[in-house]
Amino acid sequence: MDSQTQAELLKLFRSKFTQAIKYYLETCTRCGTCVEACHVYASMGRTKYISAYRHEIIRRLYKKYFKVRGRFWPSVGEAKELDDLAIEELYEAAYSCTGCRRCMVYCPFGIDTQLLMSIAKLLLIGASAEPEILSLLADTSVEKGKSLEFFKEGFLTGVKQLEKEVVKKWQTEAGQTAIPVDSVGADLLYVALAGAHSIIPAAAVFNAAGEKWTLSFFEAVNFGAFVGDPTKTKLILDRIINEALRLKVKEVCVCECGTAYRVMKQLSGRQPFKVSSITEVHARYIREGRIKIDKTRFSGTVTYHDPCQIARNGGVIDEARYILRHLSNDFRDMTDDPRYNWCCGGGGGLVALGEDTLDFRMKSAKVKVDQVKASGAKILSTACENCHTQLSNLNDHYKMGVDVQFLSSMVADALVPKESAPA
């Protein structure tokens, strides 16, 4: 690595400094309480996957270049040169961490590994060593925000074709649009993923609840966050914020995408609209009696996988259980404390990297498989696209024999038509 590249990377490193990052870099005592916290270590048993070890990969560079003793006594803190080998280590650490933050529940100080890994991801971008596909996907999202008119027609045609499917699930009133788009003055803006599975069930439930809603032009997923690029993350987020402001909605409802929800909820700042996950919205509809769901629609034990970014990191925990207790008489939690639900192993962009990470994802999530099996459930419900994909892959790989379902789809499938609903 030449000195200019190194200087630029160190500048990027410095740009990440906040009070929190400084606390995290200065506080760890390497006490080892976090050893069993990470699903990757718990499944594969290799030291490099212990949370504190991941921290040290960042901390060694920090000590070398940002602490005085790193210059005159580097060995005491194992301070390390930022070179090509260090970049490889950063990649290994950052892209084996799903950012689930389960280790924060173990650490006596609450050190946030995901935040420290965000330094690694930014340095990888600076060194052009990040997974190229994630950057490409982020760029596509940003570009879509810039040239909405270019793809608008195609999007509207696609949506029109989905309307028949929506009506099959829930008969709309005469003259009512099954999937309203670009509707100024709607109460709720629904931000879906690119795919019918993310739009059809949600639309049916919104229509059943009599919601005054509209579908976003943009997909919810934020590849900028996956690749750890703060600028792109913000640009991708701003597309939705600007759309919500233009349509004057009161609420932005994010589909079943953990990262999209957390970014929207925690990064959008003070806005005239509130941000909700679709799970929260569905729980509200049930609580307010706006929709009725059939408790006998699903047979067998149902369990729920908490998507880390929605539950432990986003606070949507009770709502999913509230819905599931309305969907089944046999709901069983996987753990007595949802903070300890194992990560599925697919977050942090790993699922988006597809086949490249499949082998690692299967090996690193063995503990999740054991947790699901121990629940004895026949239906494994979740509320995140990445989790759903990863759990489905695990289901196939380990032959778990469960039916992996989106929670929102279960709600849509169990909708009780108005005429059959008891008065």
Binding site: E26, T33, V105, G110, L115, I317
Partner: protein, 236 residues
């Protein structure tokens, strides 16, 4: 030799205290000059009042209790003993009525506080020699534990000698004369502190304690200060 002893017991103490105070304050102030994290770093479900739970996390180490109960026992014993040691040293400067709520002879703990600390430090040290904690540890971790052990062992031996073996050459009054004189910037070294048979223990104890104070702001020992704000981030 006497000038070396004098340097350790007087000027070096001032230098160490100055580095400790100025260094710690500067480090904290420098950290506070960085912007706050734009997003919350909270973990859910949340519990209120958040500040009270932050204090609980900071002083009771509930996560360690849940996941490493044996480590928790030693950590609690260690940190409680540290507080008692601090009280003991304050009482070696002057008499404080408030500390005599539970009547005791100075130094507090009848020698067992130091013994507890020494045992805890040995546990921490040997724990680091076994995987996986060994794989996580860096030289700094061992050096600091060894340094602390040296401080504790020489400090405690003075206490043990007085308490358990009726060694009477260095008295509490001698320590008070020495420490109070440092506090009022009129250094006075009683004869026993520099010429008695056990004075080398005092010199070594103070020397290692000086090193500890000088290293504090630049090492992971800062966790003693940063633990509270960092725990607050998790509680939101």
């Amino acid at each position: 030799m006497q000038s070396v002893i004098y340097f350790i017991l007087v000027p070096m103490v001032y230098i160490a205290c100055a580095i400790f105070l100025v260094g710690t304050i500067l480090r904290v102030v420098k950290i506070w000059q960085y912007p706050k994290q734009p997003t919350t770093l909270q973990i859910f479900p949340e519990k209120k009042p958040k500040w009270l739970w932050t204090l609980y996390d900071t002083f009771m180490f509930p996560t360690v209790l849940r996941h490493k109960p044996l480590l928790w026992i030693f950590l609690m014993a260690f940190h409680i003993s540290l507080v008692l040691l601090l009280i003991g040293h304050l009482e070696l400067i002057a008499e404080f009525g408030i500390f005599q709520i539970v009547p005791h002879e100075v130094f507090i703990g009848n020698g067992y506080v130091g013994l507890t600390l020494a045992v805890c430090l040995l546990y921490f040290l040997f724990r680091r020699m076994i995987s996986p904690v060994k794989d996580l540890s860096i030289p700094e971790d061992y050096y600091l534990l060894i340094l602390l052990f040296l401080i504790v062992i020489f400090g405690s031996e003075m206490d043990w000698a007085r308490r358990w073996y009726e060694y009477g050459e260095m008295t509490v009054e001698d320590y008070r004369t020495y420490l109070y004189s440092l506090l009022v910037f009129k250094p006075d070294l009683p004869y026993s502190t520099t010429f008695s048979g056990h004075s080398f223990m005092l010199v070594l104890h103070v020397f290692f304690a000086n090193l500890f104070l000088m290293l504090f702001p630049f090492s992971q020992l800062m966790h003693a200060i940063l633990s509270l704000p960092v725990n607050k981030l998790r509680r939101g």
